[in-house]
């Protein structure tokens, strides 16, 4: 089974048009992805109403699409209330933030309250990572140090320039996990040989990317020198320890 833990469902952002749910699930069928954690696309620019819109897009695709909330720390305490509502009332499974696009620092006091709430709600937080000045792996590492109980996932695992930082913080902090979508192949090879395999997750960024990228990301994991058991862990078992996929 393959679970894609990093995707963006339909929405619009500038000239980028996301993928509609029906087409999205068709791509999942064609590429062998059983379940996907889906995030907003436009909600990083205006979070108001984004969680409700995302939830309504997943209707009819229960068991395939698992929505993650986003919140805007610029809205102060409203961000905490939005997260509670998204998880407790809308049934969302995690939190996605994109500190670069959302333009907030990971030391933002309101965001720290959001992290505390995520711990109480027992949900993981997935971050875009690899883009200065707000989305660097060491900034997420700093957060991991403050909140050892938070489950923190580095989407993109530091990208091309900062993957060494991603690797270092994943080694140092037990609560950091890496989702190396779009990371260099040699970087992922280094990751599997230096951090516990239980910390690696599979994700494609579908929505920002397209079907072609999904095929390439699956191929990337297949090309890695892993045992079948380890490959199963990366493709699905590891993320199942972090996200509640119960229907």
């Amino acid at each position: 089974m393959i679970i894609d833990c990093h995707t963006h469902l339909f929405g619009r952002w500038l000239n980028l048009r996301g993928i509609r749910p029906r087409d999205f699930v068709r791509i999942m069928d064609e590429t062998g992805i059983e379940k996907a954690c889906v995030f907003t696309l436009e909600g990083f620019f205006d979070a108001r109403g984004a969680n409700d819109r995302l939830l309504s897009l997943t209707r009819g695709f229960e068991g395939r699409l698992y929505p993650f909330a986003t919140v805007d720390p610029h809205m102060g305490d409203q961000a905490v209330r939005d997260l509670r509502r998204a998880v407790l009332k809308l049934g969302m499974r995690g939190l996605k933030v994109h500190p670069w696009l959302q333009a907030f620092s990971l030391t933002n006091a309101y965001f720290l309250k959001v992290v505390e709430e995520a711990i109480r709600l027992n949900i993981p937080i997935i971050f875009h990572s690899g883009s200065p000045p707000y989305a660097c792996p060491t900034q997420i590492g700093n957060l991991a140090r403050k909140f050892p109980e938070a489950k923190l996932i580095l989407g993109e695992a530091g990208l091309k320039d900062l993957w060494l930082d991603a690797l270092a913080v994943a080694k140092k902090y037990q609560n950091i996990y890496l989702c190396p979508a779009a990371s260099p192949f040699s970087a992922v090879k280094e990751m599997i040989s230096t951090i516990p395999i239980g910390k690696l997750l599979f994700g494609t960024d579908l929505g920002f990317s397209q079907k072609e990228e999904v095929l390439l990301e699956i191929e990337k994991i297949r090309l890695l020198p892993l045992t079948e058991k380890e490959r199963r862990m990366v493709f699905s078992e590891n993320i199942m320890t972090l996200v509640n996929f119960d229907d």
Partner: protein, 238 residues
């Protein structure tokens, strides 16, 4: 077997491995440059081992020289030596060599490239020092030099790419790391003539980088990306 891969690193002593990989993937020729420590400091030995590989396999390998601009006049002298040894272009790597593209200390190296007709390959994508529009400024300053935007500005500069390419007739973009859906979009905006295939072997996967280009739509002329455009960028230096 007719692909030209314009972005390979030759690890010291690993020529055989590179040639085997090239054969396995149908790469006719590869542009090679030394590995990182030789780009940062040991330029001379880096250029020498690349030149030795090229002289043993002139039909398969094209060598690009490196020189840290911090060496000043000695950097240009090293490029002259590399030219005599048969290297065919200049590779610059601002993030590793520690300079920003607007720094005048890089100008004498570019002027040398212009004098001998070398293209300049620049690794891009790192904020502060190696952004696509910084390279566009350099390309506008030296319209007689062909520049190749290494790794296509990956990852965060996608908004700047079409303008950078359109502004500079002498600027090409290399495809490693860039997502195929992004390449397709940029081809529509900037034209296919700008795109040259590079794998960043051995850091990215040659398998995946080739597969990626083949996944581009039917309408995309892959031959241009895999071969014809880089021959144009290389000009007389090949």
């Amino acid at each position: 077997m007719d692909i030209i891969d314009c972005a390979c690193t030759l690890l010291k002593g690993r020529v055989r491995e590179l040639l085997v990989e090239m054969d396995r993937h149908g790469i006719e020729r590869a542009i090679i440059a030394p590995e990182r420590n030789f780009i940062a400091v040991e330029n001379k030995s880096g250029n020498s081992y690349v030149a030795a590989a090229v002289s043993h396999h002139p039909d398969r390998l094209i060598g690009f020289a490196v020189a840290s601009p911090w060496y000043g006049r000695k950097a240009v002298a090293e490029l002259e030596r590399a030219f005599e040894l048969g290297l065919s272009g200049l590779k610059i790597f601002p993030a590793v060599q520690g300079f920003i593209l607007a720094d005048p200390q890089i100008f004498p190296l570019i002027e040398f490239a212009e004098k001998v007709g070398w293209p300049v390959y620049c690794v891009t994508g790192t904020p502060i020092c190696a952004m696509p529009l910084q390279l566009a400024e350099l390309a506008e300053r030296y319209p007689g030099v062909n520049f190749i935007m290494g790794h296509g500005g990956f990852c965060d500069f996608w908004n700047d790419i079409p303008d950078a390419l359109s502004r500079c007739p002498n600027l090409f973009i290399e495809t490693s790391y860039v997502l195929p859906s992004q390449i397709s979009a940029w081809i529509k905006e900037a034209g296919i003539m700008k795109f040259v295939f590079g794998s960043d072997f051995p850091f990215s996967s040659l398998d995946l980088e080739i597969k990626k280009i083949n996944l581009l739509g039917e309408a995309v002329d892959k031959q241009r990306i895999f071969r014809r455009n880089i021959l144009r960028a290389l000009g007389k230096s090949r």
